[in-house]
């Protein structure tokens, strides 16, 4: 094998620079969506900003491990959720209780007994929940459930993408999603009707 000539080497460097710039542009184009998921995974705007910056720093450093043509959004979110898990271990959030296995009608039943059956037919009750109550309720449910609810119900990821991001089987995504939604409703009931 002969050494690559200076021309070949220069071309390789130019190609790499172009691939890298394209990767960076594509990744930056997803910033809004990445922030939106981050904002719902952590308690405050400042933490979300930090998490997004850490995510982009890691993504830009390891851009070579991304396979062009695969799902960049899922790849970025996988970095983000991993960083968030590491962070959670360091920061030790407020102790989290396991969600009770409340049923799916839990919140609706609470609303009905407080405001009457007819209240369920209007959007009034739901609209009375503030943005903060959603954020608070989400931050109160255990992380493994919260991650799935945020990815699927807020980030609009498919079960399959969420499974890939979190590196768990699809069946686990589904069962965590079901339990996470129940836990969310339970917290919302506590927030809204206390």
């Amino acid at each position: 094998m002969s050494e690559p000539g200076p021309d070949t080497e220069a071309r390789r460097i130019a190609t790499e620079a172009r691939d890298r710039a394209r990767f960076e542009e594509d990744a930056l184009g997803l910033a809004d969506q990445v922030y939106r998921v981050a904002r719902r995974l952590v308690g405050s705007r400042e933490e979300a900003e930090d998490l997004v910056q850490e995510t982009y720093a890691r993504a830009f450093r390891s851009w070579r491990s991304f396979t062009p043509g695969t799902n960049l959004r899922a790849w970025m979110l996988r970095i983000l959720t991993n960083l968030n898990v590491d962070r959670g271990r360091k920061v030790q959030r407020t102790p989290q209780t396991q969600p009770l296995e409340e049923t799916d009608y839990y919140l609706a039943n609470k609303v009905a007994s407080a405001a009457g059956e007819d209240a369920l037919e209007t959007d009034d009750v739901v609209e009375r929940l503030s943005q903060d109550s959603i954020v608070n309720a989400l931050s109160d449910i255990p992380p493994q459930f919260r991650d799935v609810v945020v990815l699927v119900d807020i980030g609009d990821f498919s079960y399959a993408d969420a499974a890939q991001i979190l590196d768990v089987p699809i069946g686990t995504v589904m069962s965590r999603l079901h339990r996470g939604r129940r836990a969310l409703k339970q917290r919302l009931a506590e927030e809204a009707l206390s």
Partner: protein, 78 residues
Amino acid sequence: MGAPCDRCEELLQDFLDRTLTDAEWREAEDHLGGCDYCRRRYRFEESLRRYVRTSSVERMPPGLMDKLAELRGLDATA
């Protein structure tokens, strides 16, 4: 509430996710057709989901995009 409503409640999430089998779908629809109690709760759940989704259309804080753009070119060894 009796057993048919319990069963309907069990199907709620998959119904809204559209992941029920055809037979389960029919089962849920048959029950919902005659049961106000469950129908109201399905409707409530649907608007709750919409709300959770739209409650999160928060924009990035100003300045964050510039900070991210500055990270471009970070070296793997840095």
